[in-house]
């Protein structure tokens, strides 16, 4: 394998791991802000217990997001030097604005959030939580803008092969940006929602933390019932946008190789095995005309087929095609589950309906898988370009790195990520086992100078209360 392919594998690997944690913490930060707000308003201690429980999980997830994110910010230079040189004029300021407006905000106020419980007033602590939540959203804004510019570039002039900014407004608010931003923020919120609901269902099935779990599950159900249909609508609009600006990507999503006869409309391929060389799908299962209805919102419409462009301009179809079906399939399951849960709630059986609870339990990873699948559609679907239509991925790789060097880094990252993320997920699972236990009131927590570390108290060593009983503090 050459440095190009290895660099692509490495980028895919490190960014796939990375995105899982921000995706989770974007939603979790807003959830924490909501929970702390409820505690401030009601002074109901259950809210505070719920807050500290998720705060610990947040801290571990955020830590992993930070360290894997630093790798990302240097990856462009180490492996994609030509991309950095040619598009640095545009991507650099966007990423720098992310650091300036989001990363510092998150990092600084996270310290207050985790350690400042007794050092600042309740109101100021809540403010810190809100700043962290705001930071995660601002961060999403900039990074999605940068990604979207690479998908639908505009507002630039090409000078000797280098992209120079002509209109920053046009760059930041490029055509695919609003759709991708809405889709990603909702995806992050839904991912977190299904973790919160799933963990609650798990406690309810085991009969522990019943009061907190019931409260959280109801919130998750209500939130999912609103956001999942909304996400499907946003996804549909995003799809229409892709059809307009990246028709080849949309054709790969649909497994749409060539046009039907005039007036026949476009079928919707439910399943098949795309064959890149033969330019067709094997074992195809398709519904006539449904493709036209969904993709063009008309009876006869069609999108540009894959064979309309030379083979060298097409992305690998199979991974795009499959990943899209995984994402949509999970979206449908989420929709079914949230409506079934609403129904159970109305009938008053939500807290003990075996199948609903089991469903939430099983769906804990659904958001993560759907989100990764969506990103694979987005990123593999734009190949062979890194800046769509303008700069090929194969031309963007660093010229002065060797295959041996990238082999070594790839192996190192694989081993290190296995250790780090294996451990991190293990510690998060241990925190889930402990659950939302009762927190002591503020004035009895240690001495004056103690930075009240809610997440590392030795008497709460996370493996000591696996039965999830309350009153874990000795």
């Amino acid at each position: 394998m050459d440095a190009l392919l290895l660099s692509r594998i490495q980028f895919g690997f490190v960014i796939s791991f990375h995105i899982l944690f921000p995706a989770f913490t974007i939603g979790l930060a807003s959830w924490l802000a909501f929970v702390e707000w409820r505690w401030l308003r009601t002074r109901d201690d259950l809210w505070r217990d719920v807050y500290f429980f998720w705060l610990k999980i947040f801290a571990v997830s955020f830590g992993m997001g930070v360290v894997s994110g630093i790798v990302m910010s240097f990856q462009f230079g180490t492996n994609w030097a030509v991309l950095s040189e040619r598009a640095g004029n545009i991507l650099g300021p966007l990423l720098s604005y992310e650091v300036l407006t989001a990363f510092f905000l998150e990092a600084t106020f996270l310290g207050v959030m985790l350690f400042g419980w007794k050092r600042v007033s309740d109101g100021l602590h809540f403010f810190a939580t809100c700043m962290v939540a705001l930071g995660t959203l601002i961060s999403t804004f900039w990074i999605i803008s940068a990604n979207s510019w690479m998908q639908t570039p505009q507002g630039y002039t090409l000078v000797n092969g280098i992209f120079e900014p002509a209109s920053w407004w046009a760059i930041v608010f490029n055509p695919s940006f609003p759709y991708r931003l809405a889709h990603m923020v909702l995806a992050a919120f839904i991912t977190t929602c299904f973790v919160v609901g799933g963990a609650s269902a798990w406690y309810l099935r085991r009969g522990v933390h019943v009061e907190a779990a019931t409260r959280m599950l109801k919130l998750a159900v209500a939130f999912a019932a609103i956001t999942v249909p909304l996400q499907i609508a946003v996804g549909d609009a995003h799809g229409l946008e892709v059809g307009k600006y990246q028709p080849t990507k949309l054709a790969a999503i649909e497994g749409h190789w060539r046009d039907e006869g005039a007036g026949d409309g476009m079928p919707l391929v439910l399943f098949g095995v795309p064959d890149q060389l033969q330019e067709r799908n094997a074992y195809e299962v398709a519904v006539p005309r449904l493709g036209s209805v969904i993709l063009t919102h008309s009876w006869n419409g069609s999108v540009r087929p894959l064979t309309a462009v030379p083979a060298s301009e097409r992305p690998p179809v199979a991974p795009v095609f499959y990943a899209f079906r995984v994402m949509v399939g999970l979206g449908v399951l989420m929709l079914v589950l949230s409506f079934a849960s609403l129904w159970a709630w109305r009938r008053g059986t939500l807290g003990h309906s075996r199948w609903v609870l089991r469903g939430w339990n099983w769906m804990i990873p659904s958001g993560f898988v759907a989100l990764l699948s969506g990103w694979y559609v987005n990123e593999i679907g734009r190949q062979p370009y890194v800046v769509y239509g303008l700069l090929r991925t194969s031309d963007a790789v660093s010229p002065n790195i060797t295959a041996a060097a990238v082999w070594s880094s790839l192996i190192v990252y694989a081993v290190v990520y296995a250790i780090i993320f294996g451990s991190g997920i293990w510690y998060i699972l241990k925190l889930f086992r402990v659950g939302p236990v009762r927190q002591p009131p503020k004035d009895t927590q240690g001495g004056e100078k103690t930075p009240a570390r809610p997440l590392s108290m030795p008497d709460e060593h996370v493996d000591t209360h696996a039965d999830g009983t309350q009153g874990a503090r000795a």
Partner: protein
């Protein structure tokens, strides 16, 4: 004087400021990690880590700003530097991963606690070493021919870059020990004080060795120091550094003024940094890539520059506030309630 002439100069200042902030702020956190082997037990290491636990993440963010800012303002330098220093950068990133997660994992672990303590120590050491190697390789220069780098994957490997690698480990250790004097009391503070004096000697020796070596490097980055009478107006920098080191030596064991050693170490680092930057200027990558060669389009530098003017003071403001929130001595039993 056009925008294309002036903006790169301002941006050189901004990037320099960001890197300096990183070196000072993460320097003392990395220093704590480098000194971790001197902790007498797990409890003491808890104490050391707790002095930095609320603020380390913000400190590390200056490195991300340095990376992203370099991409924005000097994309050619970013591309060349990171791709030629592929392996030292890899080492730094992996070491930073272990150092960073150790803050969370070590306090969650029971049986694995010593292992995450080791990850904290080794991660900090290798981060410092890799950063020193990167600095040394940059100072030695990256010879180019038609925009292409002349040396291979191991072009950065040299006696000089190994020297700067080891020197930075000791430099950060000094920042760490004086930070601990500031933030702890009694036994922990005594350990830190005892470590500080030998560290001052070692760091001054390394600084002298590196300075003596500089004029003999191919990049000749220190040439300006000895040309055209520059020496006389540049001379205050090394003289001040020596005076500073002497004051630090005296302050290290003086009871009662716990902030002095740390502040003197900060100013010592600032002087060393200024001396280095004066040598590199007006290149961003010696020996040939100047800040104007590497600069991005004026519209890029301007767009981000406007944001910097407003955002940097805000960042410094709330960073200062968070240090205020966590000011004062950190008790040895912190994290145990």
């Amino acid at each position: 004087m056009t925008l294309a002439t002036v903006l790169p100069v301002l941006w050189f200042g901004v990037i320099g400021f960001g890197v300096l902030m990183y070196v000072l702020l993460d320097g003392f956190v990395l220093g704590i990690g480098i000194l971790a082997p001197f902790a007498e037990d797990e409890h003491q290491l808890d104490h050391m880590m707790n002095t930095a636990a609320p603020i380390w993440d913000g400190n590390e963010t200056w490195l991300v700003l340095g990376g992203a800012g370099l991409l924005a303002a000097f994309p050619k330098a970013y591309a060349l530097l990171l791709s030629t220093l592929y392996l030292p950068v890899l080492l730094m990133l992996v070491a930073l991963i272990f150092r960073g997660v150790a803050f969370e994992f070590r306090f969650k672990a029971t049986r694995a606690k010593p292992a995450w303590g080791a990850a904290f120590a080794l991660g900090s050491m290798f981060t410092a070493f890799a950063q020193g190697v990167i600095l040394g390789a940059l100072v030695e220069g990256m010879p180019l021919n038609g925009g292409k780098y002349l040396h291979g994957t191991f072009g950065w490997f040299s006696p000089f870059s190994m020297l700067t690698g080891i020197a930075l480990v000791f430099g950060y250790a000094l920042l760490g020990s004086t930070w601990l004097i500031l933030k702890t009391e009694q036994r922990m503070q005594l350990i830190a004080r005892t470590l500080t004096r030998p560290l001052v000697l070692v760091v001054v020796a390394f600084m002298g060795l590196v300075s003596a070596w500089l004029p003999f490097l191919d990049s000749r980055i220190m040439a300006r120091w000895f040309e055209g009478g520059h020496f006389w107006w540049l001379a205050p920098v090394p003289l001040l550094a020596l005076a500073n080191a002497f004051a630090l030596w005296r302050a290290a064991m003086r009871e009662g003024r716990d902030a002095a050693p740390f502040i003197l170490t900060l100013s010592f680092f600032v002087l060393g940094f200024v001396g280095l930057v004066l040598g590199i200027w007006p290149n961003i990558i010696p020996p040939t890539m100047s800040i104007w060669d590497a600069a991005s389009a004026p519209s890029s530098q301007l767009f981000l520059g406007v944001g910097i003017v407003f955002l940097l003071p805000a960042i410094l403001g709330y960073t200062y506030w968070s240090y205020r929130v966590f000011s004062g001595k950190v008790a040895s039993d912190s994290g145990y309630h």
